[in-house]
């Protein structure tokens, strides 16, 4: 991986951690579009309980952490780390052992540099 590819990767991950860890505390608490429409049109009541409602991270809050911002921020950071782990692992697996089939985007940069 070239140094500048690493920079994009690190930049995206850092942005994700800042957004999920810090900015998430300032997200709007209003119902989202689908929830609002389901309330307006009268089918919100068809929602049933979520099987993972007891998850220690349910509702993007970390159980046992009393401070609201810390609770949400910590849940966000855990989510980013887990999503990156599963995603990167999956895509490296999908990419597979065949190292020659990868598409070099063009001749402008070296993939090994």
């Amino acid at each position: 991986m070239s140094r500048r590819t690493g920079r994009v990767l690190a930049g995206l991950l850092l942005a994700a951690l800042v957004v999920a860890g810090l900015l998430s505390a300032f997200a709007s608490g209003s119902p989202d579009g689908l929830t609002a429409v389901s309330e307006d049109k009268g089918f919100a009541s068809t929602e049933t309980e979520h099987a993972a409602a007891d998850s220690p991270l349910a509702g993007y809050e970390t159980r046992g952490v009393m401070n609201e911002r810390l609770s949400v921020g910590l849940a966000g950071v855990i989510g980013v780390v887990v999503t990156f782990g599963i995603g990167a692992g999956l895509f490296l697996l999908v990419r597979g052992g065949d190292r020659t089939s990868g598409r070099a985007p063009d001749g402008a940069t070296s993939t090994t540099g």
């Binding site: 994009v8 209003s30 089918f43 068809t46 993972a52 995603g87 490296l92 597979g96 070099a104 993939t111």
Partner: protein, 229 residues
Amino acid sequence: MHVPDGFFDVTVSVANGVVAAGVVTVCLRKAKEELDERTAPLAGAVAAFVFAAQMINFPVGLGTSGHLMGGALAAILVGPYTGVLCVSVVLLVQGLLFGDGGLTALGTNIVLMGIVGVLAGYGVFRLLTALLPKTRGSVLGGAFVGALVSVPAAALAFSGMFAIGGNADIPLTGLATAMVGVHVLIGIGEALITAATIGAVIAVRPDLVYGARMLPVVERYAVTSGGVA
């Protein structure tokens, strides 16, 4: 737009589960052609970024909010097949760990936000970038419009599904009008976040943006302030 458990009957839930599983299987095969040893970990970071961005609900007026879906963004950054997988990974993590998006609705959510989101968003993006001059501005403009269209497209698909197998008898036109109306507003946020993120990556590494590969090399590396035409 995370659909919770209970909105849809068993038939629609199972049908969406089958469609989602089938498309994800195809994507797993096709994503291999989009990924190389550099972009595989990058695609993981794109999934993580979409997860993070989805935590930020922005107000769209009338006491309603919305957040990024991310299908158009992921598809333009790392390719459409990988993009569907990125959104699917996010939905899986959200459903299992955060109780967001019903587990019986996982297939439905993958169809709406992953498959419809990518088809509409990336489809419009490809159409526009084929018609417009091969410049960075066209890539960003195409990303903006593609992302904007992807959200009401998913809302329309939801409405159609609800007419077939929703667990309440709601007239289709009224539901579709309400869903598309609010999701056009959310789509503007989707478009702004998508274009800004792609603009930031294209400014540093244009060759890493899957949807910018058709640009001539000189345009990709053109020193334009911020890369926005």
